[in-house]
Assembly symmetry: D2
Homo-oligomer: 353 residues x 4
């Protein structure tokens, strides 16, 4: 199996399975001299961790990040940083009964077709559990970006068909669903409860705003910044769509409307979403992404077994109901990893003291 | 400058500038034994070439592809295949007057910020001219895919706000705008003429259908097939959005609706768009992508010069008015390159005779 | 810092520092279905571990390999395999006194020049301790190669100027210095004791014989099998020279002597050392490599401190006296990693059951 | 076929076959702003070109380098630079008679085993003709290195068993065999003539001295500078051995002799050959490499045909008799490519004006 690594200079390799002993990441290319300790990961891991919202799985993981290498006397050395998160609440019994069946909407079928086996214990390698390692790696990316003034904000724009109409960015972090519109948030929560009661699940739309990104990140041909952001975001399992800047709306505009006029003070509008010809232009980078409903539902579905015989399946495990808001820190991490990589492609040996 | 290469086993490196002597591509990883000659490129190059539609630039290029290496006695040898397309209609005079100004919506500004220079002659490396080399490389990808039964169809779903409602796939190739709805096509053409008369430009939406793709292409973590398709498509300059399968609509569905039930005969629906957990499931792969209006317009726009002083710019060169339909063969080529790469990652040394 | 990874399909990334909490490796690209458990590593790790020979450091490490990922029910899954070896005997006190001085023959000076810091505790990342992770990864490479009939034998050909003259391969494993000539081995041991008594160190020459390697491994241009073997072997810190087949002797031969005649039964001679035009020819692959003396000696040496001021240094820590025989399992591991990579480049998805 | 590319930031991909229309290289990662024109290649190409020495093939190629991309107004732009050298003296008739036989010492046999075909016309992709593209790429590497004060000198240390004893570096360039010892050179030439008269060939030893290399190039683990130099040099077809610094002699020294004492003025000796722990130390980098005799000889040899039947072969084409001195510019080019890559890994976006 290939493809466990993302980035060219700031390279993140994740490892580990949902129900194995541990998951983690090796982060290469981090400059030396950056303060880093186990405590730095707590906040980001907590934001990804289920926390009793109706949307969240009841699986309980402490998600404590252990640093095995790359840090000496509290600072990065430039050597690979190995992060390990042990799996503690590993109960694979609910999966035992279903080990012959492919769960609809999951990778069981395709994984089996490709590798001739699949990990019935919650997906193994292709479980969302793997994303905890990405969030941990994102913390290191953030350590590179934040001194440059780059910050990444994300929120629930839409959930179960309900869309935020107000944008109170300052209350997002306190909002249960990380929605910038408190009224919409209340409605979303009601909707989630209805969905949960039916054993069903629901999708949503996330918006991501990158502020303070310097101009000049990205390459003009294949490694365009937007292309690498799209890949990073689509590498998150539930993503089904992405827009940069005006996105699909730009397809309906005319050039005279869509072009952002340039002034000595900067761009007058931002339909480009902060990227021109694959290179950041110094403006905010705006991304919207569509997340499909969690495929694990407690409703009977048609499927087949490993031998191709028809069957029905009804899942009874511990699942999220909506990928949002838990996917937000994962999306932020992927965005930060892509940005840090493009930043360090230009300055790979920069030392911070 | 990095990022001139895409793919891991089937690797395509493009080279060349809009107004330099030639553009081209080196294609590595093509299996040996495949029939290939200069004549194989004519059809695909012709589909990308401007052809007198109101949407097309009047720049005239013969786009003849010369094979410099990798073919012996009419068959590929497995060695790198070098394709060269000479630039013939290279008139950079219209650009001379504007050489101090950044064209809004183009990469001039960001390229200058990154590299401290830019190629005023039509964008140089970041010109759409570079995509001719991609189309040529796509012909080789197609030679790998078509014996497997994989075919890629693309068409203009929407242009200037007019959307196809009927889908007569058999007439697409004959339709001037490659629209599957003849009535919509007539309206689109009218719209294009209006836009042209104003000196403006317009965007559109393309739909891409991949049929016959075997299950098992893709990797479950970062190199998901959808992630690599998203990167390949976003590496085309005008792309601002992408959806796989139900795309943004899936964000509004419930799991019980969005999950595709599995039957012994295959998937009952295809909201997934042919990909689960980053791996193809054997169903059609469905992609929609939003293209922004061509940024080159003959209307006065605000901008700045290299010194940051305010200025106005009015372009007078030879431009397309809409990225569609000329972008379609480019999008198809990128899709084929990504698929061939994922196919050959599994069977890198397969020889065809 | 880059360059922590070797291989393209069978990829090994090592992490960890000499005196950090742990070292280890992430191994990507291992086929699924291979039996693997923690017990599989014991023998190889023991061969690398110091064992009371006069040539060995007294540092005591248990070198127990823990598998964090990539194995399920005793078999590899195809997912990345993470191997962790904790550092237990971590006493950095002997280094404290020397923390301002560059040890001659070590990487302290160059590391400091490059990264503006260095790890005075035994070299940190550039310590020979890192090679334990390579040996562990080599065990997995061996699991891929041995079913193909590929075996790798290595031995001490020369030590401290004493050269083996007889080649009793069957007693190598029992010989303290892994020398195929028991008489030479006795002399070598005497020499080592003399050297130890003076506080000095000594180098040697290793010979490596790869048997059963199928023809067809390697690529004809830059990724020649001999080029990748040379890189793999030179990536071991003490290596100063390498020969393939007749090596430097071939420079003194004529073509009619050096060419290996081809017969229906195989090659009549093996001056090529099993590789032609970068591709294995099915014959034994023969490698000789020169290892410099261990640079840590208990004799006063001239050096400078971080400020560039002259100083003298006399090391008092726990060191090997000769890189042989402990380097042999490391060299074998590197050879196996390179071979497994080239093998899997051809058959990346082969599943063993 | 993979492996046509070397380098990570300064990346060189070569293409082309011995008897195809052209060979060439795409060079990525070259900084912008460097003066470059077709005339810059003439000298290096001439040094590699056969020139009537008894050691040289009578094949006549003009080796004119054409620049297809990456240069604008006489300076590099940072975009990929494509270099094309057309093959003009392409006479494959001498090969026709031998198209069923494997030439001993050549890659025909291994290439056939791997790819199930081989290019009987002088080896096609694995011909020494490919190295002309490397020499051209090396000219660009030199443009990066020479402003830093880095220079690379190489010469014939030994040829046909005759070794240089005097080192008059200033006459090397004028010496027919690029030998620093005029007396040895005369003897070498006599030897070459004897060998030529017998239809045989001979090998030699090259020495390479890199001066002015700044400290800090290289990485401490797998991408050691010496490891990458060894790979670069072993990627030249005739190389069978390599030594850095004291090389095999260091295996016979004691640590107290081999360690280079450090003084405020630099290293007192240079047994390390300018590299410590994989990183350059600022001293001269010293390399010796063994080249086997040219395998093409006009003497009858035993071989087999494609069906494995015994046969004899006597070559009658146009061949070199000794890889030296023509291999020297190729070795220099490979060394420069590796150095430029390691230099630019640290400063990938440096612009020269």
């Amino acid at each position: 199996m290939g493809g466990n690594c993302i980035g060219k200079v700031f390279k993140v390799t994740t490892f580990g399975e949902s129900h194995g002993p541990a998951i983690g990441a090796v982060v290469e290319g981090c400059p030396s001299g950056i303060e880093l300790g186990p405590g730095d990961f707590a906040e980001a891991m907590a934001r990804r961790r289920p926390s009793g919202r109706p949307s969240d799985t009841p699986r309980r993981e402490q998600d404590k990040v252990e640093i095995l290498s790359g840090v000496f006397e509290g600072r990065t050395t430039g050597a690979p940083i190995t992060l390990v998160i042990s799996n503690q609440d590993v109960d694979s019994r609910p999966y035992e009964l279903l080990k012959e069946l492919f769960r609809p909407g999951h990778g069981d079928y395709t994984y089996f077709k490709k590798y001739h086996h699949f990990d019935f214990r919650g997906g193994g390698r292709y479980s969302a559990r793997e994303t905890a390692a990405r969030v941990a790696a994102g913390v290191i990316a953030d350590k590179i970006l934040s001194p440059l003034g780059v910050s990444v904000l994300s929120y629930t724009l839409e959930l179960g068909g309900i869309r935020a109409k107000k944008f109170q960015f300052e209350t997002i972090e306190k909002d249960k669903l990380r929605c910038p519109d408190p009224n919409a948030s209340v409605e979303m929560e009601k909707r989630l409860q209805e969905i949960a009661d039916k054993g069903d699940s629901v999708g949503g739309v996330a918006e991501i705003i990158i502020s303070g990104c310097p101009s000049g990140l990205g390459e003009p041909v294949f490694d365009k910044l937007d292309a690498d952001l799209a890949k990073a975001i689509f590498s998150v399992g539930t993503v089904k769509g992405i827009e940069i800047g005006a996105g699909f709306d730009s397809a309906r505009m005319q050039g005279s409307q869509n072009n952002d006029p340039i002034t000595p003070e900067g761009f007058r509008t931002n339909h480009a979403g902060g990227i021109l010809a694959g290179i950041s232009n110094g403006d905010q980078i705006l991304i919207r992404t569509a997340l499909k409903p969690i495929p694990s539902i407690k409703i009977k579905q048609d499927t087949i077994d490993r031998q191709g015989r028809p069957a029905t399946i009804k899942l009874m495990g511990r699942y999220d109901i909506c990928p949002l808001p838990r996917a937000l820190p994962v999306l932020e991490a992927m965005v930060k990893i892509a940005l840090a990589d493009h930043y360090l492609r230009q300055k790979p040996y920069e030392r911070r003291t």
